[in-house]
Amino acid sequence: MTTAAVDIDLARSFGLKDDEYEKVLSIMGRTPSLTELGIFSVMWSEHCSYKSSRLHLKTLPTKAPWVIHGPGENAGVVDIGEGLAAVFKMESHNHPSFIEPYQGAATGVGGILRDVFTMGARPIANLNALRFGAPDNADTKRVVDGVVRGIGGYGNCVGVPTVGGEVNFHRSYNGNPLVNAMTVGLAQQDRIFLSAAAGVGNPVVYVGSKTGRDGIHGATMSSAEFDAESSSKRPTVQVGDPFTEKLLIEACLELMATDAVVAIQDMGAAGLTSSAVEMASKGGIGIDLELDHVPQREANMQAYEMMLSESQERMLMVLRPDRTEAARKIFEKWELDFAIVGHLTDSGRITVRHKGQVEADIPLGPLADEAPIYDRPTEPYDVPAPLTTPADPVGIEGALRTLLASSDIASRAWIWNQYDSTVGGQTVQRPGGADSAIVRVEGTKRGLAMTTDCTPRYGQADPYVGGAQAVAEVWRNLTATGAKPLAMTDNLNFGSPENPRIMAQFVQAVKGIGDAGRALDFPVVSGNVSLYNETRGEDGQATAIQPAPVIGGVGVFEDVAQSIGLAMPEEGELLLVGETRGELGQSLWLREVCGREEGAPPRVDFAEERRNGDFVRGQIQQGAVDACHDLADGGLLVALAEMVMASGNGCKLQTAPHGMAEHAYWFGEDQARYVVVTRQADAFMAQADAAGVPVRRLGHAGGETLQLADDISLTAQQLRDLHESFFPHLMGAE
């Protein structure tokens, strides 16, 4: 391997463009060594450099008085009161999860956990946003099975509860599923750890698992589209070791309680290279690495391999020299490798030595600053016209039955029943109980609400709305539990940015996210971009995924006892908050009942969203609301059925208003709406009126059935039978 001649062909095979290789030559003033070329190629990969997305990400709102650290660190940090902070981020592991679903998903969870505990936070919750191919696609069952087992296998073992997430199925993900994992951690505001290295002479310390030849070139690989050849280019699949991760969490947190750590960074994509380069360049300092000291799992590893290995469960730290031995003891107690692999210098360069040879010597400034940035061309996007309401082919009950059993609405219990959602002893709302998961902040009365959302079919039709609606839905899901929304993380999954139509999707979606975030005071504090999510068919044509700008949100409760869920209470009046126009464009009703994916997605009106949400939250915080559910996929009637199934308590509904098609009323996906159940309906209505918030009386909680008119009456059990059939059927009788 070391004998491979470094030239433009090799550079191309490493994923560098010709002009990028030219730039490498001019920075180095000579032909780079193999190891140097490897370092440039991974640092300049889409995954590490954000070269196609950076210009656009810069436009996102990232500030608010409660934001402590926005994008740029391993995870975002937000003030949640009492000197505490929520630390969170989302990360994708899409391509690896198609190749080896179990390990791909498992190591995705491992990676995002490390991003959070690197900052000194104890991970307290995991969520995941999953997108699979069509249910009848040959690969789907294998991928669902492996991904779900992998997420559970890792999260359950490390003892972080998996409390929420979302799942979609669509044929555009047949060859390219999306696995986005989010971790939320808890830290003390005065004990947040960052990655900027400081202190010339300070030791650089490697901890965790040993290095093997895992996933070499994973970073460039995850930025390359799939094709027939990609199987031969497969890097060795990374195998996750959640047990070691658990030890690493405990050891790092124990160490961080001392004053030994100057800087710390997980080894994620591009392993030792990106962690060493990032720490040193953020600190404006140099770094010398001695690879002979790197703990190695395999024999005869080359410098190139060690620098690019993506072996899991490893961290790089800069320690205070006088605390190094105390630190070593902690890692020995936890039976983890601990090795001093280098030190900081004032050279401004990264120098890598192995077996007495200098294998790489690169100026850090240019490596970081001259990384390519592209303002990629876009092609105007035709947004479909609004849909005229189609005729109803099946009636209300038929459509409800179809929708409840459909892939995007069906109960996800089959999945979440494989995730430990209670470990930690703080889970107030488990999956299915509320619009957001709710976790108490240990040792306080406070709580955090958290959720992930995205509606790719909206973004496929209108990328701007796709971005904006994802933010609105997240904000609404937090609000519906009574939480104050604080901030979001994002995971932008798109096709190839080199395709101007896809690039336009990306730009518009980011614009939608930014506008929504500004309007709702809901800044972006961390995120991740995953591009090249495409499958090349036998005809050589690339098919991109439906764009998925996934948003993860976190909100706070001062007193978690004030939070509410969505389960239908035994009594109370049902009210619909927000205006109903009956928008069926891109709705699930249209797709599942009529087989059409058409029209404009529902309008997202930020002012309406904010006004309605702020009002509902205020009512919940006053204790006036017993249950609340936001309206999204499937519209009003699906939301009501979900409330009935959650508790087994029924409700009796008034007929649809005149002047609107009945099916548009029950199944339209108009935004900015909530169903609330209250025993103080008159006061609620009066206050809503004063606040300019439209509210409509829907009916009453009670009985054992969801009852629409005399002829439509379904028991909770009948609803559940429909709702719970999809996954067992998909996965086969077990």
Partner: protein, 80 residues
């Protein structure tokens, strides 16, 4: 006919179980122990006319289900 399918991790793939077991054995006082790898054997009866057919069935089953060829290799033995 009895068929045994041995399924083991490919060379170079991390074996977290083997690592932990090796460590535990050393703690228990088995000092010279090294290089612990854990694999599995699936033993089953197949309905085959001869050894070659049984061997083929074993390989087909390994490819279809028993081994995950992305990270594992396998070997089939037919025992009489």
């Amino acid at each position: 006919m009895k068929v045994r399918v041995f399924v083991y991790l490919k060379e170079g793939v991390l074996d977290p179980q083997g690592k932990a077991v090796g460590h535990a054995l050393q703690t228990l006082g088995f000092k010279g122990v090294e290089d612990v790898r854990i694999s599995r054997v699936v033993e089953l009866d197949v309905d085959a006319v001869d050894k070659a057919a049984a061997q083929k069935q074993g390989e087909d089953m390994a490819r279809a289900l028993l081994a995950n060829e992305v990270i594992e290799d396998f070997r089939v033995e037919v025992c009489a």
